[in-house]
Symmetry: C2
Subunit: 377 residues, 2 copies
Amino acid sequence: MFRIIKKHSKSKARLGLITTSHGVIHTPAFFPVATKATVKTLTPEDIKKIGFEAILSNTYHLYLQPGHKIIKKLGGLHKFMNWQGPVATDSGGFQVFSLGFGLEHKVGKIMKWGQSPKNGDCPHKTKLAKVDNNGVNFTSHIDGSLHRFTPESSIKIQEDLGADIIFAFDECTSPLADYDYTKKSMERTHQWAKRCLRVKNNNHQLLFGIVQGGLFKDLRQESARFIGSLPFDGFGIGGSFGKKEMKQALNWIIPYLPENKPRHLLGIGYLNDVKEAIKLGIDLFDCVYPTRLARHGVFLTNQGELNIIKSGYKTDKKPIMKNCSCYVCQNYTRAYLHHLFKAKEILGHRLATFHNLWFMFQYMDKIRKNIKDNEEI
Amino acid sequence: MFRIIKKHSKSKARLGLITTSHGVIHTPAFFPVATKATVKTLTPEDIKKIGFEAILSNTYHLYLQPGHKIIKKLGGLHKFMNWQGPVATDSGGFQVFSLGFGLEHKVGKIMKWGQSPKNGDCPHKTKLAKVDNNGVNFTSHIDGSLHRFTPESSIKIQEDLGADIIFAFDECTSPLADYDYTKKSMERTHQWAKRCLRVKNNNHQLLFGIVQGGLFKDLRQESARFIGSLPFDGFGIGGSFGKKEMKQALNWIIPYLPENKPRHLLGIGYLNDVKEAIKLGIDLFDCVYPTRLARHGVFLTNQGELNIIKSGYKTDKKPIMKNCSCYVCQNYTRAYLHHLFKAKEILGHRLATFHNLWFMFQYMDKIRKNIKDNEEI
């Protein structure tokens, strides 16, 4: 399922190949996020044209809308959304718990980009998730209805969705949780990991276990050792942490993970974080960063982020990025893109998403090339 | 500039060819509307792939945002929006006046599709346009700023935009206006038509005059005779009328228009209206109907309009339309499109717009074929 093609001589990075029922994934790879069975604004053909081999969808969102049973009835996620390549689905745990602790502690990975709830901003008055040893009760963010996920139901839902890579159900703890809670939660995640392995039924799906343990060295090591010892097809690293903490955590964790299995750093996508994590031995990433930025009019460039809404671009005839060979940079000026965003035209979102994912793919491609050529990453 | 290729033996329809600086237009033709220099959600490549040769943009909207001077500075509308084919721009008159009478009388072509302002719904407390013999003062719907259009400024703006087909500035009267006002307004439009011809400077642009006269036979005939006698390159028929009134008005008008010049029925796009108008000798159409419907989840089919948001489509594996060869019908189920609209995913708007314009192009293509083959239209 996973083959290491080459190891980088200057870091712990590796070039690999994951084989799935729907094709191969060259690693290190970034998965564009198709939260609700669509990479927002783009078609599967667009994603393919950009170069991506695989995408990641969110179990939590698809479970709520349209529902995994409907997707199963319609032939599974690939057929439903007309994407023929590999798909990963997360376990739903991150969304369920980040709705919980995000609202409690005002933190969370999905709130990094300007969504942190301020006093009075939050539409939900109470915590949305309540965990017990057997699973978690949660409230739908759509209509307030009550639901329950267990390790068994998460796997069942992911089987119905039919993704090629699925994840064990875990409790994603708040970075503000104390040692005792984080330890208790980690142990629960370990028990859940075993339960997920036990109920997994479909041999066409690769099941990844998830390492937790918060910001505590001994817990991260213990979790990596425990999860790493289980017969998973690969490993996710969960949690919510800052840039510095991320490197530290990866240094603690990776030595305990088996060399010959792929490692997915969940929800991370800032360019530098991706690069640093690859150097430490991470193979897979998924993040809404490039697509979410796009919808806010922010374009990724090799000079940094470019906010096209700024009035300075009103008559700027240049493309977003010099030497970018993407469709957007080849055909449109900053002035036109500025106009689209000012006029709230959907085409602006579409073109920005296309460019940002193109940029992201090129960024990853360069890293893969550098590993291959033993150049600095 | 306009050549009639064939006349239909069973009606007054004709097959024609308009030659512009940016290519030819096979008539009868429908122009997708690119209000603010974009056919909402689609790229120029999409429009071309569907088959359309020409589009229409709105002078009023582009004048306000980003401004004609900016578009001129950026090389004109074609270059600005990356559309290499023919472009038409309207005169701005319709929007300016429909903002006026639409708010006064609660009617207007642009309010046909669920936008009619109800008591309390309308953000504007006062009439937005005030006409005098020399031009019209109006208030921007965007920021309430004050502006003035005259026949001369409308032509100047359209020259700056650089469209291939431009329209004379006219007063579009409310269908509820009385005989005296409609007559006075029509006479003003006639004077403005002469002024537009006088100031028109650019020989690469085709200038179309506009026939007004409301719902009054003698006024429509007088207007058609007067405008038809002026050296315009083609003719627009303006006004706001119901289905029955439209046929009647065309029967009054068309005998007075020169045979060898193209005739554009402004703002009309319902399928049957288009067909009836072609049979009476109309060559050109523009309308937001297919694209606006799309954004509301309504797909055009040969069985009528299909509202994909209805819950009956939740698990429907069929394409929108049997035997439709468009990208959407070839690749997606009604269930997926239903999901996209329920989940408020932009891709839904994009796919619906693509299908509806595809349907519209095929509809026109069939009519052109029928004229060519002397079959019933």
